[in-house]
Subunit: 158 residues, 2 copies
């Protein structure tokens, strides 16, 4: 990850893509969201979704996995370049999570971050705050998922 | 679930309690959030959390499970009373999710809903909108998790 000073509004980071299968949708749902439209094709067909679709929490957890994998790769690349890797602070939460469309078995969702605002921290001069829209788009180009994230990012040592 | 007309601001529903174990924390994290403090006790001790703690998405997914189980029980009880069960519509998302404190291995989180506002739907007269604060409290009485939920609730047939 870059330092706060090297970021700019509009920066796009594509984290990666996750394919939802009947198997991983049902496995997640059995543990965490056992509603009929998440548990079988038949249950999905008999619901207003019209087919087996993923728990919204599965959509969110898969996004987290893509972010973690992306960050690990960034850290490895920084180490390979002989740089000290830069990590953001832990997340305190987020705002405005929206499940915009169903995610069906067979869909591949690409998760992306768009930087929307940078703010200096009044109380912690060694940190800046990055606001980003995180979203997921399916293979048809439809946005299915989004939320507003904020994270503390380290500032360049002076 | 009651009809919209039978709800009132301040209504509390306790969904249930979920115990986070080293085993279920690590199992979730391996799939969806493989960061060191979610993957082993040692990784947690060497982090700012000071111990193995659950992915925030695990805290959220466990809350969903408690809500689904609670709703199923409500439906069964309604059927047992000879009533037609009432179900809310699917969730379009939520606002202001906060991970307020870490959830450690061994913690039991009780998830609860408090009704904060009721609003008639201008466009859909057969539905009302219920706004609730959903939160999770650990065995020490500390609130660790919360978000603002909204759901469409059916109105009483006239």
């Amino acid at each position: 990850m870059p330092y706060f000073e090297d970021m700019k509004v509009g920066d796009i980071r594509e984290f990666g893509a996750y394919t939802f299968t009947a198997e991983n949708i049902i496995r997640f749902a059995k543990k965490y969201d056992p509603q009929p439209f998440h548990l079988s094709e038949e249950g999905g067909e008999n619901s207003l979704f019209g087919g087996l679709c993923a728990s919204g929490w599965h959509t969110g957890a898969a996004c987290m996995r893509m972010i973690v994998d992306f960050n690990k790769q960034q850290i490895q690349e920084a180490i390979a370049r002989g740089e000290k890797p830069i990590a953001s602070g832990p997340s305190p939460g987020f705002k405005n999570l929206k499940w915009l469309k169903p995610v069906y078995a067979g869909d591949t969702i690409t998760y992306t971050s768009e930087l929307v605002e940078l703010r200096e921290s009044a109380t912690r001069p060694q940190w800046g705050i990055m606001f980003a829209k995180i979203y997921g788009v399916n293979q048809k180009g439809e946005r299915v998922y989004e939320f507003d994230s904020s994270a503390f990012m380290p500032r360049k040592p002076k």
